[in-house]
């Protein structure tokens, strides 16, 4: 019937809703019944929350949550403090300190990850430039960073870009100003954080955000098949009536 011509019927003034003829409609009542049939275990939700606290580095909260809910963390909580100390050092611009701490934690992390090591050294150079230690910065770039640039084309380009900061009088307004931005520190910090987690055979991202993305995806997928009550606002999980 659709082939015969929805267009033809529409041209005669009929309201042809192809969607409505092919899409299944699930009422709120039916849908709520299905939601109630789903079994979600409390202990699984606790695990999900613990995974978030641990991966994001909320060590005290993880400790308290272990006591209040009886959920065991999937990683030694002591290692979180060390990891967070490294992360914080980079965020505050104490890159040298951070490198030392990473090596105390596990020297293999930087040995096996030249890109991370380069980014840390690059961050160190940025901090020197930020603090106006021009001579020291040049010396550091020549001695520590230039040899690495010779090994790797991408490193070289990055190095050139960073050193160009020296050419500008007012670095905060130069086109490379983004390197001096706090976001550059945060980027480097999260790279170190991920590398430490990986070295502890832990996933570098918490599971909760992926599940939320999966929810958005699953709802979009189901939209093609049916009209049903959606949750559009994740932060209050309110069911919206199906639009038919």
């Amino acid at each position: 019937m659709q082939i015969l011509g929805a267009d033809f019927l529409a041209s005669l003034g009929y309201n042809v809703d192809i969607e409505a003829t092919s899409k299944k409609v699930i009422t709120r009542e039916e849908w709520e019944k299905r939601l109630n049939d789903v079994k979600i275990r409390k202990e699984d939700m606790n695990k999900l929350v613990m995974n978030f606290l641990v991966t994001e580095g909320y060590v005290e909260a993880a400790e308290k949550f272990r006591m209040e809910s009886g959920t065991e963390p999937d990683i030694d909580l002591a290692t979180i403090s060390d990891r967070m100390a490294v992360k914080k050092a980079v965020q505050c611009g104490n890159v040298e300190d951070a490198i030392e701490k990473v090596n105390d934690l596990n020297p293999e992390i930087l040995d096996t990850n030249p890109q991370l090591f380069f980014h840390l050294q690059q961050q160190r150079l940025i901090e020197l430039i930020r603090n106006g230690k021009i001579e020291e910065a040049l010396e550091f770039a020549q001695e520590e960073l230039a040899p690495r640039g010779e090994e790797n084309q991408t490193f070289l380009e990055e190095l050139e870009r960073t050193v160009s900061l020296l050419a500008f009088e007012d670095v905060s307004n130069c086109p490379l100003g983004e390197l001096l931005d706090i976001s550059q520190r945060l980027k480097t910090a999260s790279e170190v954080n991920a590398a430490i987690l990986t070295s502890q055979s832990h996933e570098k991202d918490p599971k909760l955000p992926s599940l939320l993305k999966m929810l958005i995806w699953a709802q979009n997928q189901l939209d093609e098949k049916a009209a049903y009550p959606r949750i559009n606002n994740l932060s209050n999980a309110t069911l919206e009536d199906p639009t038919v």
Binding site: I26, V38, K42, L48, V49, K64, G70, W217, K225, A237
Partner: protein, 478 residues
């Protein structure tokens, strides 16, 4: 009982039946829900292992034209073919499993015979056993003599190379993309869209139509147990050891091919999902509301303290839609009660409740909850067969003040949690602003997880029960 709650609840028609119980006893209502939630009864959430095809169907094959060997993995065409319809067709003993991403099987052509008319494909249950797969509707077949793909129409479409003696050919279904795919000697020949009509259970199918055509029928899928298969082959009386060796090699190769293909499909989907963007700090906000909901006050204050000192600090703005006034209701009292119950200090918890929420204790639900916890416990130990403990349990059940008795330690932790969660929900429901009773029992996080599970299940049922379901536990253990 505060009548305003009931009115609020019943303003929603869909819930009126479930909320009737509240008129009688609020606590019993929550307890009932809590029991439901914790019951061990399997629901559709638990995946049953599907039985995969293991051998050829010896009963429902076109008798007279082909012989299925006793190993049920080889077929031989016997009659000199005279008519176009004298096709020998044989299906697998079971339809292809559907609750997975992919299904795959393959055949090895030992001898293509004089005319080399062989087909591999999928057919439905009522398929005519004298027709090549793909000649009839609801079937699909890749034919060896012309390399064409037939999909229920009279003529085939150009598809891939021909195949003959010595070739190994595979057929598969990709449930994620709703496609059939075929392989020849380890190389993907092509894929073809699976029509919507082919929704029913599909049987792996082979057709032979020539003299001296003989097949060995292999199964290669994720759960394939190689040892078991080797046993079946050895039992056969006419497959020589050389072929056995080749089979082994190919099973191994195709297993790897299959796994790689499946991994790629997963990766593709994963990448699409990861690209979706989320509102800022949404995970953070949901964790926070979870802690508030269940009264994990100490965790919450550590969490808040830490998030103030992060760089950059986390702010959950009001415009993000987090309304925490309701779930923050009576936070400290809920925390204290949870602690008492978790420590097994049930009487202390009851006396606090009596002071703070006389309306809850009056309806007698709490005692019911405690009793429930004890009964569950007794069941547990009776099963385990600890004689001493059963006696202790009996003592516990008889005891008015369990925490004072020497057997108080027996109130098992998970049962205490159940009691604590029930009490928590009951207190939340005394909040005059409470909108619905479900909200007292389910955190935002839980509602989202339920929605996710329901969406995945619904989508699977719209696809004819094909594809994977969502299981939180699977995600957590991955």
């Amino acid at each position: 009982m505060n009548s305003s709650h009931t009115n609020n609840g019943q303003s929603n028609n869909g819930k009126s039946s479930r909320l009737d119980g509240i008129n009688r006893d609020l606590g019993l209502y929550f307890l009932e829900l809590a029991r439901l939630r914790s019951s061990a009864a399997p629901t559709e959430m638990e995946e049953d292992e599907e039985e995969a095809p293991k051998e050829l169907n010896t009963i429902n094959s076109s008798g007279g034209f082909l012989v299925v060997a006793p190993d049920k993995l080889s077929v031989k065409y016997t009659t000199v073919n005279l008519h176009g319809h004298d096709v020998g067709v044989v299906q697998a003993n079971k339809p292809a499993p559907v609750k997975c991403l992919l299904y795959y099987f393959e055949i090895y052509v030992k001898d293509a015979g004089a005319k080399g008319q062989i087909a591999i494909g999928f057919t439905n249950e009522g398929f005519k056993m004298r027709r090549q797969p793909g000649w009839e509707v609801n079937s699909c077949g890749y034919h060896g003599d012309d390399g064409l793909l037939y999909r229920g129409q009279g003529k085939g479409d150009a598809f891939g190379p021909t195949y003959t003696t010595g070739d190994t050919v595979g057929g598969g279904i990709n449930y994620a993309s709703q496609e059939f795919f075929f392989t020849k000697n380890g190389v993907l020949v092509g894929t073809v869209c699976k029509e919507k009509e082919m929704k029913g259970r599909l049987f792996p199918t082979i057709a032979v139509h020539s003299q001296n055509e003989e097949y060995a029928y292999l199964l290669v899928h994720v759960n394939f147990g190689q040892k078991k298969f080797a046993f079946d082959l050895k039992a056969s009386w006419f497959v020589c050891y050389f072929i056995l060796f080749i089979f082994y090699l190919q099973i191994y190769m195709f297993d790897a091919l299959h796994q790689e293909y499946e991994a790629q499909e997963r990766l593709k989907r994963q990448m699409t999902i990861e690209k979706i963007s989320l509102p800022p700090n949404i995970s953070y906000g949901l964790v926070r509301s979870y802690l508030l909901h269940y009264g994990y006050e100490d965790t919450l204050s550590s969490f808040d303290l830490a998030s103030k000192s992060t760089i950059p600090p986390v702010y959950i703005a009001q415009e993000n839609g987090f309304d925490e006034q309701d779930i923050g209701y009576a936070l400290n009292q809920r925390k204290i009660l949870r602690q008492l119950i978790r420590n097994g200090e049930i009487d202390a918890a009851i006396s606090k409740l009596r002071d703070w929420y006389p309306q809850i204790v009056q309806v007698g639900a709490l005692e019911e909850a405690v009793k429930y916890g004890r009964i569950e416990l007794a069941k547990f130990f009776r099963l385990a067969g600890f004689d001493d403990l059963v006696q202790d349990c009996a003592a516990l059940l008889a005891y008015e003040h369990p925490q004072e008795s020497c057997v108080g330690y027996l109130l098992e932790e998970s049962q205490r949690d159940l009691v604590a969660d029930t009490v928590n929900a009951m207190i939340l429901s005394t909040n005059p602003n409470t909108q619905d009773m479900e909200g007292c029992l389910q955190s935002y996080l839980e509602r989202l997880l339920r929605q996710l599970t329901a969406c995945c299940l619904e989508r699977r049922s719209a696809n004819g029960e094909q594809g994977e379901a969502f299981l939180l536990r699977r995600v957590l253990n991955s």
